[in-house]
């Protein structure tokens, strides 16, 4: 042999190059994408909205850090995932909640829903949504009864109606119209007028000066954030668009008060938490299916469940329960949507 080279070189298995994207880049992109909606929330609902959000984030990050430390696992709160959970939980709470609710919610989301199941990547449910369901079951009044009136708008989005959020107004009115004999004629007439006026709320729903949870009201701000996520390839169009499309279709078919095919599908798309849910929560990589076919099935299921809850269920809004239910179905969906292998021979 020739003169021996002293130096030994690094040996690892191929490939020897990697894409530069990383989990923290993905997570922080989502966080940045939620800033427009947060800014709008603070504008419409006041600094209380910011306060709730910051408390929620702090509780989520601290809880995750403590649990990872206790479990002698590497502390990885800097990856931004706990921050997302904190923001999303706050986005799903009314600005009027007492200060301890976002804290309890975040502790529940991180400790029970995420870390108990193995931490990042292993949770079955979307932590923020599971925590919201937990809070809703435990303190229903705080979660649904005190909506903050938005700056420059009404809670319902419709002038002169200040009692209920847009979807709640629709729900109550539809209930009255469905059984007019149980109510006095004035109420029935009011309900019919409300339904007729739904379309006058579109602009408010787009801008966000209506009643609702902190981060769900401003459709425009949420879409700006969604564009950021699309641009950075953090989300794919399949889940959000299929989900929204399914909601539109079924809301049009079943959501009307004058029989089939009379539903106001535009109102259904713009109101409630659909845009927030479709772009920011249903697209959560950990709790959504792995491949394209699975995405479609998942999203259609979301759409059907959402409309079912909104139209026939006990709650005015169905987005969070729809997502939680479909989260549970993900392992099953993954199992039955294994892609066809290249060159697979039919047997």
């Amino acid at each position: 042999m020739s003169e021996a080279t002293e130096k030994l070189f690094v040996v690892t298995s191929s490939p020897h190059v990697r894409d530069t994207d990383s989990i923290s880049k993905i997570m922080w992109t989502v966080n940045v994408a939620m800033i427009p909606a947060l800014v709008m929330a603070v504008y419409f609902f006041g600094f209380k909205a910011l306060w709730v959000t910051l408390l929620s984030i702090a509780a989520a990050v601290v809880t995750e850090g403590i649990i990872q430390k206790l479990g002698k696992k590497p502390v990885r709160v800097h990856d931004g995932a706990a921050v997302i959970t904190g923001v999303l939980l706050a986005f799903n709470l009314p600005a009027s909640v007492p200060w301890w609710m976002p804290v309890i919610g975040s502790v529940f989301a991180i400790a029970i829903v995420k870390e108990l199941f193995g931490g990042l990547g292993y949770n079955i449910l979307n932590p923020a949504l599971a925590a919201r369901a937990f809070l809703l079951a435990s303190w229903p009044v705080d979660m649904t009864a005190n909506w903050t009136s938005p700056r420059g708008g009404t809670i319902s989005g419709i002038a002169a109606i200040t009692s209920a959020t847009p979807l709640n107004l629709l729900k109550q009115s539809a209930k009255i119209i469905a059984n007019p004999s149980n109510y006095d004629p004035a109420q029935v007439q009011q309900a019919q007028e409300a339904i007729a006026k739904l379309s006058s709320s579109y602009t408010h729903l787009l801008v966000g000066n209506v009643g609702g949870c902190i981060g769900e009201t401003s459709v425009i701000a949420l879409l700006v954030g969604a564009l950021i996520m699309f641009y950075r390839r953090v989300i794919d169009w399949r889940i959000p668009f299929t989900y929204i499309g399914t909601v539109a279709l079924f809301a049009w078919i079943f959501g009307g008060t004058e029989g089939l095919f009379t539903g106001n599908w535009i109102f259904h798309i713009l109101s409630g938490g659909l845009i927030l849910g479709a772009f920011y929560m249903a697209t959560d990589m950990v709790t959504s299916p792995l491949n394209a076919k699975g995405h479609y099935i998942f999203a259609v299921g979301l759409g059907i469940l959402t409309v079912a809850i909104r139209v026939w269920g006990g709650y005015p809004e169905g987005v969070s329960y729809a997502i939680l239910l479909m989260n549970l179905a993900v392992p099953l969906i993954d199992r039955y949507t294994v892609p066809k292998v290249f060159g697979e021979v039919k047997q």
């Binding site: 020739s2 070189f9 690892t12 298995s13 191929s14 490939p15 060159g343």
Partner: protein, 441 residues
């Protein structure tokens, strides 16, 4: 024209600019060459020479009486100084015939150009190819004559030359297409005659417009030949993906290209076929791209087989201070080498040197189920699911999810934002499946 391609794939940093404009230079003969007895897939060869024996370049120095094999030839003239154990760039260790050069560069007399080579019968062409020791120069090194002898029940109708060169950094095929295009076309014509097919396709990625133009000009007037242009995407040059893109045919799972009537050869192999058939020239040299941030003067070189990486790198100005990883081949599928005392073999398409910052694998995070590995897998597998199964020892389940269809292109590991060692564990799983199959018998 819409460029055809396959489903899946990735777009890594191309890195071709290091060498794509550099003409092929000839490496001066090194002092000694270390020619491994095994440089192909199949039976290893036995040496035909002894210590102290004088050999001339082009002389056959090892062979074995087996169909799936390829003889080995001296690449320089000189004296055999021994048959030693060396570090083999593919298998880790192996035997090599060491020849110390005599500085004369004298060649065997058998190498002579014959004008009428196209009149030879296919069987004679094939035996010249086998005799010349040809093995696929794209890197897989399957004996060329075997690939060109499909069993009679397989009806072949297309011959494809692979000029995709989809591995980042490598430009050996690119330069060859620019500098010796006629030899490639002649090689394809021979292949078409041997296989008696009427259609020959040269597939090239669209990041090589000059090569596309050059080849196109030459095949315009050749009956049945055409150039197919593919968009840049890795692994466009993988055999099955190339066939899919060029012809829309899918090689069945577990099958070979000949199952869909196709034989694929690398463009470099085509040139070697031409030289073997027309001139009896054995495979003694090959073009190697010496490149990467860790090489001072990246080059495309014509290198005698058996030359140690050290000699090749020295001719390219040596390594930089921060050179930390030596890869034989490209960055996606290339094999890392522990040092520079390994010889260039028939499958050495490149010597890529990466620096410290690129040499180490990044820290592994948990899978977040983003599905990118599933999206990019050209075999349409679920790499993250396979990794999970393999790491839990669920070999049977991994086999059910078609782990054996993995072509080991590495796209999954490349794209994973959690830097998971997907391919690494899938390779391990494939070995487990093979072990299991052997046990079952």
């Amino acid at each position: 024209m819409r460029k055809k391609t396959f489903v899946g794939g990735i777009h890594p940093f191309e890195g071709k600019s290091f060498t794509e404009k550099k003409s092929i230079e000839i490496l001066p003969n090194p002092k000694s060459v270390y020619i491994p007895l095994q440089q192909h897939i199949g039976a290893p060869t036995n040496p035909l020479v002894e210590k102290k024996q004088e050999v001339r370049a082009g002389e056959k120095i090892a062979e074995v009486n087996s169909f799936v094999s390829a003889p080995v030839h001296a690449s320089i003239s000189g004296t055999v100084t021994g048959i030693l154990d060396i570090i083999h760039p593919v298998s880790g260790k192996g035997k090599a015939i060491v020849i110390e050069g005599n500085g004369e560069d004298s060649w065997t007399d058998a190498i002579k150009f014959e004008d009428n080579y196209m009149d030879l019968p296919a069987s004679e062409m094939l035996s010249r190819i086998k005799e010349a020791g040809l093995a696929g120069l794209g890197g897989a090194t399957f004996p060329t004559h075997v690939k060109l002898s499909p069993p009679p029940d397989k009806k072949i109708d297309v011959a494809i030359l692979n000029g995709a060169e989809c591995e980042p950094y490598l430009t050996a095929d690119h330069r060859l297409m620019l500098e010796q295009p006629q030899d490639i076309v002649n090689g394809l014509r021979i292949m078409m005659k041997i296989l008696s097919v009427k259609r020959g396709i040269i597939g090239i990625e669209d990041n090589k417009p000059d090569a596309i133009q050059t080849m196109h000009k030459l095949v315009k007037n050749e009956a049945g030949m055409e150039v197919a242009v593919f968009p840049v995407k890795y692994p466009q040059g993988a055999e099955k993906q190339l066939i899919r893109a060029a012809l829309g045919r899918e090689v069945p799972s577990g099958g070979l290209p000949m199952d869909v009537g196709v034989v694929v050869q690398n463009v470099g192999t085509a040139k070697a076929i031409f030289e073997a058939v027309s001139s009896h020239k054995p495979l003694t040299h090959r073009i190697v791209t010496v490149t990467g941030p860790g090489v001072k003067e990246p080059k495309n070189l014509l290198v005698p087989i058996g030359t140690q990486f050290q000699d090749v790198v020295d001719f390219c100005g040596g390594l930089t201070e921060r050179a930390a990883k030596i890869i034989m081949g490209g960055p996606m599928m290339g094999l890392p080498q522990p040092n520079l005392e390994v010889p260039v073999v028939k499958g050495t398409s490149g010597i890529l040197v990466l620096e410290e910052d690129q040499a180490h694998l990044p820290v592994e995070d948990p899978c977040i189920g983003c599905g990118r590995c599933v999206e990019v897998c050209p075999s349409h597998l679920m790499p993250t699911a396979l990794q999970m199964l393999v790491s839990h020892g669920q070999t049977l389940e991994a086999e059910d999810l078609h782990i054996m269809d993995c072509i080991e292109c590495g796209s999954c590991s490349f794209i994973c934002p959690a830097n998971r060692r997907l391919l690494h564990e899938i390779r391990f799983g494939k070995r487990k499946v093979l072990e299991m199959r052997r046990k079952v018998g």
